[in-house]
């Protein structure tokens, strides 16, 4: 089937295509304008912006901790009004089914769940397989697991550590590796309550820094396209900017991705000893080219924080609103669920401003990624409003007028004039994520790319434009029209598939037998356990 998207304003920074024109799709792929052929279907994109489908690199959409958060908060999603059931389970509140539909309506076609516990990979993939329309991917968590910490303590060879990382990524069907407050979850089990980059995990004598550097080296050597994804120590603490700065410095010329930097942008200035270090961190990112970051923007309202940083979640359980939490000591990281309401008071205003400072003061849209750390800073449904804040200084000023002026006085936000262009939005939310994750088939509109396309009707209301895409095309299917789901389909989970090292498998089998009294088979599963046709799509490692 040949499709022509006619007369839209094409925004494709990768291929240098900016301006009015047609986009042609044949079956699942984008093609050059075919000479002498008529389209089977023509989509009128007059007055619209045409971009590749958006890619979210960090959004907690499925897996054990996300599901526990649902379980903890039935009231969070009980208040949905009944709508006609256009798609299966579309009236379900905060469900996997709704997640796929809501993302698709905003023109997102690929979303990464960034915190998969490798031991419960099957659960995570079962949830992801029930998220319709979009493609998914996961990052496997390492860095608090006894097997790795023991290897580092015992000075195992880097080859052996690489074999373990490769096995973990392959067996859990992950696209990359994440480390979350490296060493802190293990230390918390031994009753340590604060943990920083140069603190040492009891019983192992291994520092957080050493864990991060070890994993960074293994990920790089293995050719895993996505750099090690780091959730730093001291998240949320006043003064955490120092920890973030030290972690940025620890990149040492090798690619490193820092997650939700906003949550570390806190200084200790002012009467309340809570201030913005957004400008300082942005400057550090600007001058450290091997570092990429995503923001974790805070937007106001009720949400729930879901994190595998169990120490941090334990510490913040007193802030829970409503007053109930789950703290889980898992095999590696575990995690914590703390419901939270971001208020437009002093603290909330500081956090909001820091996120925007980072967005606007980091110059290179290829190195800053658009996230709210869903749902930690805000649910992903707040994205349209966040696009408006980035693209319009007036929208920012209007929003800022309702916030704590004392808080805003401690940030540089008011002095920033920058407005993101469509081209920069396309880089930040399409081209750069594809590059960062090693997804060569998407993020652009060149011939041969996967036909994942978002068409937005231009208008004065930027948020509305991004809230309900005029058309969204996934693998060549029109899945959204005028903000409504038109076509239900099942995406895949994108994964790497490095071959397992046989000696490592034998070691792990012996380890699980001895330490858990279980065969390694317990943690493995065949693709058929997912019960979808082609549940996975393979992505190759760098040569």
């Amino acid at each position: 089937m040949l499709t022509r998207i006619k007369g839209g304003e094409i925004v494709d920074p990768v291929n240098g295509r900016l301006g009015k024109g047609d986009l042609w799709i044949e079956d699942e792929a984008i093609v050059e304008a075919p000479a002498g052929r008529r389209a089977d279907r023509t989509i009128d994109a007059t007055g619209c912006v045409v971009m590749a489908g958006a890619i979210d690199i960090h959004s907690h959409i499925g897996g054990g901790n996300v599901n526990t958060a649902r379980l903890l908060l039935p009231e969070h999603h009980a208040a949905h009004a009944q709508r006609p059931a256009e798609t299966p389970l579309s009236n379900a509140g905060w469900s996997t089914f709704q997640t796929g539909c809501l993302y698709a309506k905003m023109g997102f076609t690929t979303v990464v769940e960034p915190a998969m516990s490798p031991g419960s990979a099957l659960h995570t993939h079962l949830e992801l397989a029930d998220i319709p329309i979009i493609d998914k991917a996961t990052l496997a968590i390492l860095g608090n697991d006894d097997f790795l910490l023991s290897m580092i303590r015992d000075k195992a060879s880097s080859q052996m550590i690489e074999d373990y990382v490769a096995w973990t990524v392959g067996s859990s069907r992950a696209l990359g590796v994440k480390v979350i407050n490296a060493g802190a979850a293990a230390a918390f089990k031994e009753n340590v309550r604060t943990f920083s980059l140069d603190d040492v995990v009891p019983s192992y004598g291994v520092s957080s820094r050493k864990i991060v550097k070890t994993l960074q080296a293994a990920v790089t050597t293995l050719g895993i396209p996505h750099p090690l994804h780091v959730h730093c120590n001291n998240l949320g603490a006043p003064g955490a900017a120092d920890t973030a700065a030290a972690t940025i410095a620890a990149a040492e010329g090798v690619p490193l991705h820092l997650a939700h930097l906003q949550f570390y942008g806190y200084g200790t200035e002012g009467k309340r000893r809570f201030s913005s270090e957004g400008a300082r961190l942005a400057e550090l990112v600007n001058s450290t080219p091997e570092v990429t970051i995503d923001i974790g923007q805070v937007m106001f309202g009720q949400t729930v924080t879901i994190s595998s940083d169990v120490m941090r979640q334990f510490t913040s359980r007193g802030t829970a609103s409503p007053k109930k939490t789950v703290i889980f000591d898992g095999d590696g990281n575990g995690g914590g669920i703390v419901p939270y309401r971001y208020r437009d008071d002093f603290y909330g205003s500081v956090q909001w401003a820091i996120g925007l400072e980072l967005f606007l003061l980091i110059n290179d849209p290829w190195r800053v990624f658009f996230t709210t750390d869903h749902p930690n800073g805000a649910p992903f449904t707040a994205y349209p409003d966040l696009f408006a804040l980035l693209m319009s200084r007036d929208a920012r000023n209007a929003a800022a007028a309702n916030l704590s002026q004392k808080a805003l006085a401690l940030s540089t936000l008011g002095s920033i004039d920058r407005e993101y262009t469509f081209e920069e939005i396309a880089i930040m939310t399409r081209a750069a994520p594809a590059k960062l994750l090693g997804l060569k088939d998407r993020g652009h509109l060149g011939a041969g790319a996967l036909a994942d396309v978002a068409v937005y009707r231009k208008g004065k209301d930027i948020a509305q434009m991004f809230r309900e895409a005029a058309f969204v095309i996934k693998n060549g299917d029109v899945v959204v029209e005028d903000g409504a789901i038109k076509n239900y389909r099942w995406g895949r989970a994108l994964r790497l598939n490095p071959p397992p090292d046989k000696a490592m498998v034998r070691r792990l089998e012996a380890y699980y037998q001895e330490r858990y009294g279980l065969s390694l088979d317990w943690f493995d599963f065949p693709d058929s356990a997912i019960r979808r046709d082609e549940p996975f799509g393979e992505v190759s490692c760098n040569a």
């Binding site: 039935p74 379900a92 029930d130 703290i327 575990g334 317990w522």
Partner: protein
Amino acid sequence: MAVAWIGDRDVPVAQAAKHAAGLLVSSLSPVFSFDTDVHGTRAAIALAERVGAAYDHIGGEALARETALFTDRGGMFIAPGETRRRADVVVIAGSLPAHHHEFVGKLASTIPDLGGGASRQFFLIGAETRAAYLSKVKPTRLAVTGSDVGGTLAAVRAQCAGRAVAEPVSNFERFAKALAEAKFPVFLFCGQSLDLPGLEMLQGLIADINRKSRASALHLPASESGWGSTLASTWMTGFPMRTGFGRGMPELDSWRFDVARMLAAGEADLHLWVSAKTSVSVAKGVSTIALTKGKKPVAGAAVTISIGEPGVDRDAVAWSSRIGTLAAVKAQAATDLPDAASVLRLIAEHLPDGKALPC
């Protein structure tokens, strides 16, 4: 071998499925109860949405209490692997169902290898019986004369906090000393022998301990398939079980959608039963569709379709308390009996809109 019946007449499966679909369509208040794996659950919930049914786990009382602990309060929990590797004090709160006895026995025959604990001591809160599985464990019993598990837990918590109690807990000194020296005490619990206040009291005790040191609770579900179904229900609908689709969108109500209660109260006119392990007793005046494993039709059922048992006849995905998450289970002795999910999908294909289930 016949595998499907309309009444007591054996028919092809497709014909039974079609008849079942007709009954579902004409029902004003259908209810589903199931005891199946994750994929059976997914298909059952997708079908429940299609026909506006309420659904519950078979014998879901204890499960509903465990669920309520999460929906009402939350708490601190630990993985079974970490329990085995770290727990130097193990406290069994109440009694545990038989399917967890092997794990407890394994705890008794091992010692911690992480966290510095050198041995493992066992305590038993409140339970009156000396079950056989505890003979290896040799627990020290904490009890209060005339109190149940919940009452004993309350007294333990009070004494731990230094508060006066009317009736002291037996062996409390020993327990206090063990707690003071412990690196990581773990409390094993199940909704079968604790009511919701008891479950919450246990979490209160654990929260108290965590002010200064570490402790957590290992959830050993009353029903493993029930907990697996709870997880699948939660991701699919946002809600755990005892959810109904009567008004189109899912609604959670652990009293209203208690399917056994609905049947007893005459609130349901159709009952879809899904379990290869147990057979349904047909309620009077309720047309019953039984998906169960048997060579004969269920007496009184309008439709019976024989299904394979998850993990026995068919590969399955099920909750495993040994690893604390969902596991892929290979069929022990694969047969041709269809699994619950495929029968449920077949029924859905005969509904008027003819659309396939999303699961």
